[in-house]
């Protein structure tokens, strides 16, 4: 019981922190502007003439590449910079409760940002007759994708008290997670490596696993992939924090 109330207290504090500072509003506005820009202008939503959100979801791995680390970079580096980490971890709270609470709060915030894109769903339903199952699958995939990037950001944020370094590191790692399965890269790789190797490398990519969701397929393997990226990155965050405290 006390574990949940601790996590709950931390989630509330973190979420409150977003909305008492301008961060939340700046982020939400930029997020919505960019999703709109990519969907309608770059993704030529109208010219496609089909009732689907393909042009909306295709851009998410790239959009999140910069936006999610921007949210996650402060998770732990800010605590270290302010010295509040000492306060938090000498409270009757375990490290994993603090970890999960902080992660969950940021994930909820990203989910809120994603939920605010509902006008595109309304638009596409008004203009045509889309498969809403596919759209829901796309949203589920997008939330999992954001969670994975966020867990990576949480890890890099625990490594340093410098938020810029934290941001750059997590963009790099997330970029790798994209490129490992990005078609131009896999195409290049298949010229020098056997198809099996290419397949193994691509299996580490969020692109490979996000694709299924975009087509409306909820494959357990894809869900397991995103869950393991999050599990691994959060576990690594815990190890990094423990090692830092041990000095």
């Amino acid at each position: 019981m006390s574990a949940w109330s601790n996590i709950n207290a931390i989630v509330k504090r973190e979420l409150g922190g977003y909305f008492t500072s301008p961060i939340a509003y700046v982020f939400l506005v930029i997020y919505l502007l960019l999703t709109g820009f990519f969907t309608f202008t770059v993704g030529s939503f109208f010219e496609r003439g089909e009732a689907s959100l393909v042009s909306f979801f295709t851009w998410h791995p790239w959009l999140y590449l910069f936006l999610v680390p921007a949210v996650g970079m402060r998770l732990w580096s800010e605590e270290r910079r302010l010295g509040t980490m000492e306060l938090l971890l000498t409270m009757p709270v375990t490290t994993w409760q603090a970890l999960v609470g902080k992660f969950a709060a940021s994930w909820l915030f990203l989910a809120l940002a994603l939920a605010l894109t509902f006008p595109v769903v309304v638009t596409v339903n008004w203009l045509g007759d889309p498969d809403n199952g596919v759209i829901i699958a796309g949203y589920v995939g997008s939330v999992l994708l954001a969670g994975s990037y966020l867990a990576v950001s949480s890890m890099t944020s625990a490594m340093t008290r410098n938020q810029v370094i934290s941001f750059i590191l997590s963009v790099l790692i997330c970029l790798f997670l994209i490129l490992a399965g990005y078609e131009p890269v896999t195409g290049l790789l298949s010229r020098v490596a056997s198809p099996r190797v290419v397949e193994v490398v691509a299996a580490f990519s969020v692109m490979t696993h996000f694709e299924g969701f975009q087509r409306g397929v909820l494959d357990t393997r894809d869900v397991v992939f995103f869950a393991s990226v999050m599990g691994f990155a959060l576990f690594a965050t815990g190890v990094i924090i423990r090692n830092q405290r041990a000095g």
Partner: protein, 242 residues
């Protein structure tokens, strides 16, 4: 209440804390003295469970800090060095958060926030954010947070640092008053503070305890009866290599 046995902390090859042992009972106020870098903060961080010792044992109210940290941490109120706080939170929000993590609910939480706000003279800044506070208020907010659950043990790292003389006087009196039924450890550079508030003094130098006694006992060591002479005689400036 607090029992520290053979505490050692190494940062790489450097021994920050080198075999420290002492106990503090209820009703005692222990002053931690020592030059900068002597290991005072490191010792306090180990006692409060923020960093694990390289070796040694810490027992808080019968609970081992390393094996059973949560019950041990529940007994402690801690004011870290420089009184950190979440800059974007209001004083009330911050105290409410601390109270929640201390397991205080509903009416009890409200009452405890009210109590510490009065005790630490925070009532007129309760709804100001922490980054707008002066240093004195910020410090008292940190102190209020440490007292929110009326802990049996209070550990404070330089609680009067950066306060003006009036505020120093208030904090000292507060410590003295609370020391009657709590076990308190606080560190300081100010020698008269030790005489004013402590029942016992430990002087640490380069990770070791070099003196342990009542302020009167320590003063008796100097021909002029001044604590400062004793301090200077048994500690080295931090520029001198061990």
């Amino acid at each position: 209440m607090i029992k520290v046995e053979n505490l050692v902390k190494a940062f790489g090859p450097k021994l920050a804390v080198n075999d420290i042992s002492f106990t503090v009972e209820r009703g005692e106020v222990l002053g931690f003295l020592g030059p900068n870098g002597a290991g005072k903060s490191t010792t306090m961080r180990m006692i409060t469970g923020f960093i694990p010792p390289t070796s040694g044992r810490i027992t808080i109210g019968g609970h081992d800090m390393l094996e059973n940290p949560l019950p041990a941490k529940r007994l402690i109120g801690y004011l870290p060095e420089n009184a950190p706080g979440y800059a974007d939170m209001t004083v009330h929000g911050f105290l409410n958060f601390a109270a929640e993590l201390r397991g205080l609910q509903g009416e009890a939480r409200k009452k405890s926030i009210h109590r510490v706000a009065e005790l630490c003279l925070l009532t007129n800044v309760l709804y100001q954010t922490i980054d707008t506070l002066s240093k004195g208020y910020k410090h008292r907010t940190g102190l209020a947070q440490a007292l929110i659950h009326d802990p049996d043990i209070l550990i404070m790292d330089e609680p009067t640092d950066g306060l003006d003389p009036n505020q120093k006087h208030d904090v000292r009196n507060l410590i003295k008053r609370m020391g009657e039924n709590k076990a308190i450890i606080f560190s300081t550079h100010i020698l008269e503070e030790v005489e004013a508030a402590c029942t016992r003094v430990i002087i640490i130098d380069r990770g070791r305890i070099v003196a342990n006694g009542t302020p009167a006992e320590l003063k008796a060591r100097s021909p002029e009866g001044r604590l400062e002479d004793v301090f200077r005689a048994i500690t080295l400036p931090d520029t001198v290599k061990a």
